[in-house]
């Protein structure tokens, strides 16, 4: 078999025995090493430590030494006092971070006035998705694929740049489909012409005490970078400067109204975007 995913190896390290994964890992030096690393993480987690993690930084006079050695203090003073030339300032402080660059909630919930062009196919996809709710993700993927191949003829269908089948991670949700389209309808404002929209065809998700949030991740099994796109919506505009190669995985999480902006860790759907074509 191919190398098991990090997730499968983690399951093995946790004692969830899978014959195939175990046999592969036993015979493969790379996976054996990976498994050993995971066991080391487990050992590190379980190791009793009398002290909690240090809550405070090292003494401030040590920082002053570092700043002096690297000449940081000086340039900071110049920046503050003498208003040094802009060229001196390292980096752009007002660079939007990925999180602040996320579309504002208004955009996410009501991206464009619905036009027949964007609304009609979306509804039909939706109906198909509902009809096959109990079927395997593959069936939904094929159905949605067929719609894309046979667009409504009266209006041009926006070009689909990439698609993903979102696999259910929790017990209840059904598979869903994500597609990335160029917003190229005539009504769009000129500067929005190149904007990418992430469209979701999701059968109704179970109600719960919170809400669902849409994310982009860097990796399906082992996400280390994540970007919130706000509360789940059928259509979400993506930040214009977003590097989709860095965030190719679509994820839907169940979130509580707890004011915590972090991912809850409770994902219900996830899938990797692949170029359409």
């Amino acid at each position: 078999m191919a190398h098991p995913s990090p997730h499968q190896l983690a399951q093995l390290a946790l004692g969830e025995h899978d014959q195939q994964v175990a046999e592969h890992a036993a015979a493969c030096t790379r996976c054996t090493a990976e498994l050993n690393r995971l066991r080391e993480v487990q050992a590190a987690l379980a190791a009793p430590d009398d002290e909690p993690l240090p809550a405070a930084p090292a003494p401030e006079h040590l920082w002053e030494g570092v700043a002096r050695e690297l000449g940081l203090g000086q340039s900071a003073e110049e920046r503050d006092d003498a208003a040094a030339t802009p060229a001196d300032s390292p980096g752009a402080p007002d660079d939007p971070s990925p999180l602040t660059a996320a579309p504002d909630p208004d955009d996410a919930s009501a991206p464009t006035p619905p036009t027949p062009l964007s609304a009609a196919p979306s509804r039909r996809n939706r109906v198909l998705a509902v009809a096959s709710a109990a079927a395997a993700a593959l069936v939904v993927a094929v159905a949605a694929g067929a719609l894309i191949l046979l667009p409504d003829t009266d209006e041009p269908e926006p070009a689909v740049a990439a698609e993903a089948t979102l696999e259910p991670l929790a017990d209840q949700p059904v598979p869903a489909r994500a597609s990335l389209v160029h917003r190229d309808d005539a009504d769009a404002e000129p500067d929005a012409a190149d904007e990418l929209l992430l469209r979701l065809d999701i059968d109704e998700l179970p109600e719960h005490d919170g809400y669902y949030e849409l994310w982009l991740l860097d990796d399906e099994d082992e996400p280390t970078a994540l970007l919130s796109l706000g509360p789940l919506s059928e259509e979400t505009a993506l930040p214009a400067d977003l590097d989709l190669d860095a965030y190719p995985v679509v994820d839907v999480s169940r979130e509580a109204y707890d004011g915590d902006p972090n991912h809850s860790g409770d994902s219900v759907l996830r899938g990797r975007l692949a170029d359409a074509g």
Partner: protein, 194 residues
């Protein structure tokens, strides 16, 4: 005190790009961690020196830091580990006081330093996991609870608990090589992989 995960990811890139504010932020978040590693293995004066060296070196060699291989604390602890070991290899007249060797005045060994670096890295990463995932791992490893008990305590299905455990574990593992010195930052030659 610990940066939320997503915030820390931004910081990694900004540090790599040479943003001095990111260096200061890295100091605020992780100098305590680095200092702890040094302090447990070295004398107080050496621990202070090495902590400074670590941040100076991490900054000067930031073009060798690849955020995709692990978060900033892994880069910092990786350098700290090497510098602590350098210090321990130096011939010394009197033994240094160490915590990890049991406070008996014996020197910390490379294994002690590695194990502590692992623990600090994993504990730091754990603190930055999403709440539910963190709670599940804490109950499993700090309280020794089984899947079913964790599920009961958090009101989650057992399957979700298992999935959190596997995902959490895989996530905590990120950066372990980076901190293990698979990339010896000081030399371009072949590096010991620990």
């Amino acid at each position: 005190m610990f940066a939320p995960d997503s915030l820390a990811r931004d910081l990694d890139g900004q540090f790599r790009a040479g943003d001095e504010d990111a260096l200061r932020a890295a100091w605020e978040h992780w100098s305590g961690l680095v200092h702890r590693l040094c302090r447990r293995s070295l004398s107080a004066a050496d621990a202070d020196d090495v902590t400074q060296q670590v941040f100076i070196e991490a900054w000067r060699k930031r073009d060798r830091y690849d955020p995709s291989r692990g978060p900033l604390p892994a880069w910092l602890l990786g350098i700290a580990r090497l510098r602590v070991l350098d210090q321990l290899r130096r011939p010394r007249a009197e033994p240094v006081g160490t915590d990890i060797a049991g406070g008996s005045g014996e020197r910390a060994t490379a294994d002690d330093v590695d194990a502590l670096a692992d623990r600090l890295l994993v504990a730091d990463a754990l603190a930055r996991l999403p709440d539910t995932q963190r709670r599940v791992l804490e109950l499993a490893y700090h309280q020794d609870l089984g899947h079913r008990d964790i599920a009961g305590q958090l009101g989650l299905p057992v399957g979700t608990v298992k999935s959190h455990l596997a995902r959490g574990l895989a996530r905590l593992r990120v950066g372990l090589e980076l901190s293990r010195g698979a990339s010896e930052p000081a030399s371009a030659g072949p590096a010991g992989t620990g």
